[in-house]
Amino acid sequence: MPDTDSKNGARWEERLRAYRERLACGFPQVAEVFEDCMREALAVLTSAGVGGYLDTARFLGGMGRGVEPVLVFLEEWPPIARTLGEDALPAISATMHALCKSPNARAITPFLQTLAAVARRLPSGPQMQRYLDLIDDFTARTTGSIHGIQQTFASPGLPDFLAQAPALLDKLSISGLHKWVDYGIRNYPNHPERQREYFGLQSADSRAVLQRERHGTLLVDNERLLDIYLRGLWGDSAQLVPYPTDIEQLPRPVPYYDASGMRLPDVLDDVAGVSGINRYRATLAHIAAHRRWSMPMFADNCSPMQRMAIEVFEDSRIETLAMRAYPGLRRIFLALHPAPLEGACDPETTSCLRHRLTMFSRALLDAEHGYHDAELLKFVRHFHDTMAQGNSSSEEIAALALAYIARTRRQSDQLADVHFADTEVSYRDDNRHLWRFHELSDDEEMFDEQRPMEAPADGDRLPPRHYPEWDYQSQSYRPDWVSLYESLHPAGDAADIDRVLEKHAALASRLKRLLDILKPQDKLRIRYQEDGSELDLDVALRSLIDFKSGASPDPRINMSHRTNGRNLSVLVLLDLSQSLADKVEVAASGGEQSILELSQEAVSLLAWSIEQLGDPFAIAGFHSDSRHDVRYLHLKGYSERWNDAVKARLAAMQAGYSTRMGAAMRHAAHYLAAQTADKKLLLVLTDGQPADVDVHDERLLIEDARKSVEELDQQGIFTYCINLDRRADDYVGDIFGRRYTVIDNIARLPERLPELFMALTR
């Protein structure tokens, strides 16, 4: 054998010499890596391909641009050829020749450096050709013509663009990339500095155009759709918070949820026949299933490997339950779940635990997994048997997981080199919710409520009014339980509100059209009256014809008139409690606004709308600081017009204290009852459930508010609640029956509130 080896060795040396000659390149750095490169090249390329490889390398080496281009090419081409096929070389080579002839030879190195990454994103010939065409176009349009002197200056933006290309293609399709490039060239043809900033992704417009052209399904565009999914199919709801996915970061960030919401990738592409939106739904289904069926466990007693196993088993358990409720989920999970190859991981050199567990998880999902491992098959059976009994539990499945890794443990599981391929289940969350730690106690939340407003000095106040409160436990009223102080709301700057109205001018003109329809006509004709003030000729003639022809005529041949159809009085009651200061994201403008600001805008538009309709209306706000101090603040009285004094008060709205709703509604009723209109409407705008600092039983103030709605109903007052709390379903129906709307997308409140009012009074 050594004989043949040395013979082979000699032949190899000979071949290598021939290759070297064909390369004809004297750089010592090339000599160092040449043999390795050739081995790689020979594994991928045909002999013709090898010829092309060496010729192109020779061209690059002889270009007079130093060692870098040839070195990068020698190293990068074999893996690129593996992705694209060696036939791609002539086109790529042509591009490099063109660059070399132009003043842009310096760009060849960045072109080659990112080409492998680009090829992975554009693996087909035609796609790659479009990329090369794009470079030719880029070069032609940005090179040299700055002062009319042909082809003297290199393209300023090209090297930056080439360096960014892989990151850009993460977000853009090749067509999107074309558009993005085109925008940059058209806008910065003569500013080398600006052009460089644009193509280096440094300028704001560059990033904005990128956002506009990006592919995939964006979370921000689908928030409501996903919220409805979560609510409708899972009876769950949460803030959906996007995290950025554009960084080429490993390990990739994973979805998770905590008290502040569910974190999801900001964009998802279609994958394996599953649309981006269904990938989001898969993650939401998985998380919602955890929230429904998982119980946290103590992590302290488990090793990291045990925890990993428990997590995989638990993920599979809750998915099994989710698929019972929604069998269609299986198709989506199956398409997204990796199918690791049995034997792909070498337990001698790598830690195979992840690989093993992912196979197990796959086998649970896919009856046709085709795996042979006996332990795996046995535990798959155990798992299915356990689930056949019912829902099982986090704890029970954890025990099974521990048994499984005890049976399949390997020394190499400890190795640092972990087999990662085909083990990432993209739609699963990171399971942080599954673990509790003995050392840390997370129930020590801080309860220091903010107190931004100074209580007005007692001297300025009117004496309080007393209201009863309903104690549901004893099913009786506590008489004179609550002291309510009323006052005029302090004033700010009316111009602020005018600005708000200006900002929403487009919305206002849209509302105006709706309002015009609702607006009472001076005289309203009521037709089909037997006794009316005038004969309705149309109907009378029809009746006469009926009569003459022997059919029985309609006797309702008169009509009468009614003036002003709307006989309605409105009171808008605003919850001004502390939570109103919370910020929400306003997708449209990209900024943040507090709920208070949005309420302010919404109420301004509502007030403007009601004023157009001519319905008498008042606006008041309330908040409370224990039963001894409920404050009712007048923003607009019935006798006032929608004028600067009112706007000034609205402009000064602030958030603070708590929400003792029942008392405030009873007081509002007192004003509404004094109105003479036929219909009386109390609109309550709130962002949370009734609560106060001196009440610890959550139900108490909910029940009291419910009672006050009943009382108002008896007085002929129609109460309607507009609620901004995503969790409102738990209580709002208890209080307001069917008369409520929950506004999930608070950013849309300014348009929703007037619309709702109109729908309600149509």
Partner: protein, 267 residues
Amino acid sequence: MSDNEQFKVREEPFYRQQRNEVALYEAAYAARLPVMVKGPTGCGKSRFIEYMAWKLDRPLITVACNEDMTASDLVGRYLLEANGTRWLDGPLTTAARIGAICYLDEVVEARQDTTVVIHPLTDHRRTLPLDKKGELLRAHADFQLVISYNPGYQSLMKDLKQSTKQRFTAFDFDYPNAALEIAILASESGIDEATAARLVDVGAAARRLKGHGLDEGISTRLLVYAAALIKGGVTPVDACRMALVRPITDDRDIRDTLEHAVESIFV
């Protein structure tokens, strides 16, 4: 056939009790108290009244109320005839004369001035003044007035006056619970219980969206429709699309979600 027989419910309507409403209704009838049935559309209100009329063996006269309805449409009017005029009783008057149960479906739809004519029939007087005819009709001892009312109308313009509401005893109806609704679907349409259960799941998803873009969830009535389509050979997915999703909303997000729910539930 006498008037009385003509309005009888001849065959036992299929009705599954939600709680103890049958006994409560019997008690209300025994005391001849007026009854109001509240609840979302298509949850079984009309069916319940029909069933009670059958059970109590009373004639049932149903009037579907609408905006153009006037008091005369309920009470009656003079008709012109070739040789003079003739008085014709309205349905309410007929019911009061023969001792029927008069069911005014969706009274809120009627104009307020119309609703007022029922007032004297619903208190101790139990009379109906026929002004035009100059008659004060005393209601038959067996007469009872029932109205239905869907408080889901998201408009205060269509709400009953307190003075009307407070003349009735009331039943609060809601969609039947899952087990009951499954049984109803199975027996109304003849589909198997497993399929019925899947339909009820679709209904549940929509009902959770009430107030979040849907004014009303999917009614039992629509579920029965879907079941009937499936029974007739339509695929479940198509049946749901046709009977459950399209009728209730044009909101794209909600449609998408319900379609997705249907496809997830019926694979």
